[in-house]
């Protein structure tokens, strides 16, 4: 690891000030991806701004027809939340399946989506539930937030504050884990929302999380696993590596989507 200055602001204002205090300043949420990256010397920030002291970024509330989760809320907190379990149990299951217990104790929603690892779980939930990301500057629809592998719409001086997940009629997440890293090789989040069915896939796409229009059309008519029979996912644009070629991932998208639908009931 290259050395850096460590900074732990206690308020959002201080965090924003620290963020604009120089070049190569980097935000740290849970650090579960950032610290391993630093260890490999793949990044060389001059200053790390640790957001864990900013209380206003933590917490889970139900606001109207949405569950709102603060950016610095850990996966373990989401997985253990009675509100989340009551309103969007699919999210409980997703949070419970991220990494391992130790990662869930530190890793956060905001860190996960800001990093936008193409094999992370949360991006699928945001896309499928039609979530809204609130930053210090604006509100972004999930569809506009994720912008390709490890890329988001976030600007240099922008911090994710919270994510609002509309409560769906039904939803479920099914993940096929890459056996070594336990990241998603293919993760499919299905949701029956007021605006129709939404299906988002993580792990498989060359450009990160994506929605599957063919599935959504079929499921908007009939929200059941049977509705996907005969709809093949093309392998083009999907990842290939030693853990699964594109055609395997394409196949798994269908399998995982059906499993999610069966779980959603």
């Amino acid at each position: 690891m290259y050395n850096f200055e460590y900074n732990r602001p206690a308020s959002l204002d201080d965090a924003l000030k620290a963020l604009s205090s120089g070049d190569e300043v980097k935000l740290m949420a849970g650090g579960m991806t950032l610290i391993p990256t630093l260890k490999q010397r793949l990044a060389q920030p001059s200053k790390l701004v640790d957001l864990s002291g900013v209380a206003e970024l933590k917490g889970i509330t139900v606001e109207g027809n949405a569950v709102v989760i603060g950016a610095m809320t850990t996966h373990a907190t989401v997985a253990a939340s009675a509100e989340v379990a009551a309103k969007i149990p699919a999210l409980t299951k997703l949070a419970h399946g991220i990494g391992d217990p130790q990662v869930r104790n530190r890793g956060t929603l905001g860190g996960s989506i800001s990093n936008n690892d193409p094999a992370a779980d949360y991006p699928a939930a945001l896309m499928a539930l039609g979530a809204t990301v609130t930053t210090n500057k604006r509100q972004l629809a999930a569809d506009d937030f994720f912008a390709g592998m490890f890329t988001t719409a976030l600007e240099e001086d922008e911090i994710v504050l919270k994510v609002s997940f509309p409560i769906p009629e039904k939803a479920a997440y099914a993940k096929f884990a890459q056996p070594a890293s336990r990241y998603a090789l293919v993760g499919v989040f299905v949701a029956k929302t007021a605006g129709g069915a939404r299906v988002a896939v993580t792990g498989a796409g060359e450009d990160g999380v994506f929605r599957v229009a063919a599935f959504e059309d079929a499921l908007s008519k009939n929200f059941s696993a049977a509705a996907l029979d005969g709809i093949a996912i093309p392998a083009e644009g999907l990842n290939s590596d030693i853990h699964g070629a594109a055609d395997y991932r394409a196949h798994l998208i269908g399998v995982m989507a059906k499993r999610a639908l069966q779980a959603a009931g």
């Binding site: 010397r41 096929f176 070594a180 093949a232 853990h243 699964g244 395997y248 798994l252």
Partner: protein, 793 residues
């Protein structure tokens, strides 16, 4: 049986320190004035170093020194030696290229050492290493053993044309060919034994220290055999005589073979500690372990098994290409020859066996022994081809094996490939396993699984292995450049407590407990009064270390022999004190008594007399009570057994789930059943890992794709199940303690059981082959090819 004697599951003496964080591993050791080393390694599989400039790095903060291969060459240091020489079929010796600890002008695998930076802190050493300027001219590389012999393949060494290290044979090829020609049926198989990365949980580490007042060196290192390291490094690399070099292997966090070998870093920190006149610590990061620890397996094999009309095996012909990597590691050449081909008769009466092994160089990390070493490769081949033969002959898996087993009464059994198995009962092991695993109920379970949409299969592996690695004369005749006996020293203290010094090394095997049980049982003293010391050349007289399941079968006997000497001397002392004839003294339950009388002396009274010899036969006997024995057995040790694995496969994803794993093994006489079971658990987990999860993958350019736990799939708790274990023990007549090795059998027996189960599950689809590891995409692809999707799917 006493609560702590032979046969009792005594809880381990070593656990207290490990459970409370008081273990002492190499990286826990810090010496006064210690510096830190970081090694600059090649990012290329094959390249010429055109320029190496360390000047800016030398000026970096905290840097004490930077050394390159030229500095080592200037001191006329030797290369890392190979401890085994194989001769090709034409009588020529194997090709044995130089292996300098730091390369001079060419790198031959990703991870090859180029320079060492020594600095006040590790951070500074790493920062400085980034300032070393290296101009590489990349050259074409070869990684796959199956392609290394091709005429167009890039060459690793000029002195090894065609990348051939040796071309070795055992058996009579013409005889075997004739038998195959005249056979009723011949089963042919082609398979790969996948390359593995050992991944002991403790990364390798080394601390070198030079004492300028005495000129002595000390190396603390993560080794399975400190005396071997002292011999190899002292005699061949650094030219330091034994009495000036101390090697300490303290607590070591697992080895599985990977910590047998003498590695460059050990020589570098020891040599450089005198150069900078300060202790130097080097600890591998896990990503470094992946590209520097010796890997395992990596065979490509074609074989033919000839049978008569009843399925009786007539002849077995094997042709194997074995990957050595870029350099010959310490024991590498013997693994695919004498640890592999000599086992190809397996547990069967196959009368004729021939094997040809071509060892090849590639631009990869050296390959050497990994848990089982050669024997897993042999067992996998035999048990795969036997299972395939049963399917081709339309015979039940158990039945074909029964027809060919060496029967219990046929032991000792001379195989056609040199070994004489001293004992065993393969049939007895299998029948017991069949019952335990409810083999007769399997078809009902297969149907039930099918109703749930799952393919269920059961796989067999009935095996024997040769371990307890010794006899020196035998291994010497086969090319070993060292003896493989073991040393034990028993020091009885004045008050009757005992310290045992053993040349074996425990890195998880529990020697401190098992050996203490041996001593407590034989000397009749409480186990608390026995301590076992290992891992320090300054304390233990000599030793060859721990590998090849040899610690108890060889090292345990050496301790037993030393105890015999102690008892013999103690009897003389007792005879004197009891005023009786030595021949009348009986030693039982820790007491020396005069036969037929109630006159006796306790063990502690005798030991006290030995050290306070006021009333002592001083003209005939020296004071003191301490004895040393070296033991060199006359034969290997032959554990064996039957492993049955039951799996279910999800056709939608290709995921294979192990449902049951049953192992019935023959360990001869068992000292501590709890520890032995633990050894089997770990071995089976590594075997299941090889069969279903673990693959070391290099790309065509020689880059390691599986370079971390993010891509190399280590078995985790949720990949495995609780195992069903039992034993069917036949005491070993060729071992004085009647014991057999147990450390490797799990890894030897299990992989074919798992793959045979996968193939059995998929056999209704006509699938006859799946390579290791049977990963989900591979299994899914096989199912899809066998059962093309309907157009609508």
């Amino acid at each position: 049986m006493s609560a702590t004697g032979i046969g009792a599951s005594v809880r381990r003496k070593e656990d207290l320190r490990f459970l409370t964080g008081r273990g002492n591993y190499t990286d826990d050791i810090n010496r006064p004035g210690q510096t830190h080393a970081y090694i600059l390694r090649s990012p290329h599989a094959h390249a010429k170093i055109e320029r190496l400039d360390i000047s800016s790095a030398q000026a970096a903060p905290g840097v004490i020194a930077i050394f390159t291969g030229k500095d080592m060459a200037a001191d006329a240091l030797g290369g890392l030696p190979c401890g085994w020489q194989i001769h090709s079929r034409d009588g020529s010796p194997m090709k044995e290229p130089a292996h300098p600890p730091l390369v001079i002008d060419r790198v031959r695998h990703v991870g090859d050492q180029i320079a060492v930076v020594i600095a006040e802190t590790l951070g500074q050493a790493k920062d400085a290493a980034e300032l070393i300027e290296v101009d590489y001219a990349p050259l074409p590389a070869i990684a796959h053993p199956g392609k290394a012999l091709a005429s167009a393949a890039p060459q690793v060494w000029d002195e090894a044309p065609g990348n051939l290290c040796y071309d070795w044979v055992i058996g009579d090829e013409a005889e075997v060919d004739a038998a195959i020609k005249g056979a009723h049926h011949v089963t042919r198989i082609e398979l790969t034994n996948n390359r593995l990365i050992p991944n002991a949980m403790e990364p390798r580490a080394a601390v070198g220290e030079y004492d300028r007042s005495t000129g002595d060196y000390t190396l603390y290192t993560t080794s399975q055999n400190p005396h071997v390291i002292r011999l190899l490094m002292g005699a061949f690399v650094l030219h330091i005589p034994e009495h000036r070099l101390r090697v300490v292997a303290p607590d070591v966090g697992g080895g599985f073979g990977s910590k047998i070998y003498h590695y460059a870093e050990e020589a570098i920190v020891t040599w450089a500690s005198a150069k900078v006149n300060r202790p130097i610590k080097w600890t591998a990061e896990r990503s470094e372990s992946f590209i520097t620890d010796a890997h395992g397996r990596d065979h490509v094999t074609t074989a033919h098994l000839a049978m008569d009309k009843d399925g009786k095996f007539l002849a077995f012909k094997v042709e194997t290409i074995a990957n050595m990597g870029a350099y010959l590691s310490t024991f590498a050449p013997c693994v695919p020859t004498y640890l592999y081909a000599t086992l190809l008769a397996g547990v069967y009466t196959t009368p004729k066996v021939f094997a040809n092994v071509k060892a090849v160089f590639t631009h990869t990390v050296p390959v050497d022994a990994y848990r089982g070493a050669g024997r897993p490769e042999a067992t996998y081949l035999i048990e795969r081809i036997v299972s395939q033969a049963a399917r081709e002959m339309g015979l039940d898996q158990a039945e074909l094996r029964r027809r060919n087993f060496i029967k219990r009464e046929q032991f000792p059994y001379q195989t056609p490939v040199a070994l004489v198995y001293d004992s065993g009962d393969p049939g007895g092991c299998m029948e017991k396993a069949l019952k335990l695993a409810d083999y007769s109920g399997f078809e009902a379970r297969r149907k039930e699984a099918a109703a749930r949409g799952k393919y269920r299969g059961i796989g067999f592996s009935t095996y024997v292995e040769a371990c307890g690695i010794a006899p020196s004369a035998v291994v010497g005749s086969l090319g070993a450049r060292a003896g493989l006996y073991e040393c034990g020293q028993v020091r009885v203290h004045p008050t009757g407590s005992v310290t045992v010094f053993t040349g074996t090394h425990s890195h998880g095997q529990g020697h401190e407990t098992t050996f203490a049980q041996l001593v407590s049982d034989k000397l009749g003293i409480p186990i608390e009064n026995v301590d076992v010391v290992h891992g320090d050349t300054a304390k233990v007289p000599f030793g060859m270390g721990t590998y090849g399941s040899r610690s108890l079968a060889v090292g345990g006997v050496a301790i037993d022999r030393a105890m015999d000497k102690v008892i013999a001397k103690a009897k003389k002392i007792a005879a004197h004190l009891l005023e009786a004839a030595e021949a009348d003294i009986v030693f039982e339950n820790g007491e020396f008594s005069v036969a037929g009388t109630d006159r006796k002396k306790a063990f502690g009274e005798i030991s006290l007399a030995a050290y306070v010899p006021h009333n002592y036969p001083i003209t005939e006997l020296e004071p003191g009570l301490e004895e040393t024995a070296f033991f060199d057995p006359l034969n290997f040790s032959y554990p064996g057994g039957a492993h049955l694995c039951e799996v279910e496969i999800d056709p939608d994803t290709g995921v294979t789930q192990v449902i049951n794993f049953t192992a019935v093994d023959d360990f001869g006489r068992v000292i501590n059943p709890m520890i032995v079971e633990g050894q089997v658990h770990g071995g089976v987990a590594q075997g299941i890992g090889q069969a279903l999860l673990e693959a070391c993958v290099y790309d065509e350019e020689g880059q390691l794709i599986t370079g971390s736990f993010m891509d190399y799939t280590m078995p985790r708790a949720d990949n495995l199940v609780s195992f069903t274990l039992d034993t069917h023990n036949v005491p070993a007549p060729d071992n004085p303690l009647g014991v057999k090795g147990c450390g490797e059998v799990g890894a030897i027996g299990s992989p074919p059981a798992v793959i045979n189960a996968v193939i059995d599950a998929l056999s209704p689809l006509g699938i006859t082959d799946i390579s290791m590891p049977a990963t989900p995409p591979k299994v899914w692809q096989a199912i899809r090819s066998a059962r093309p999707p309907l157009a609508a799917e």
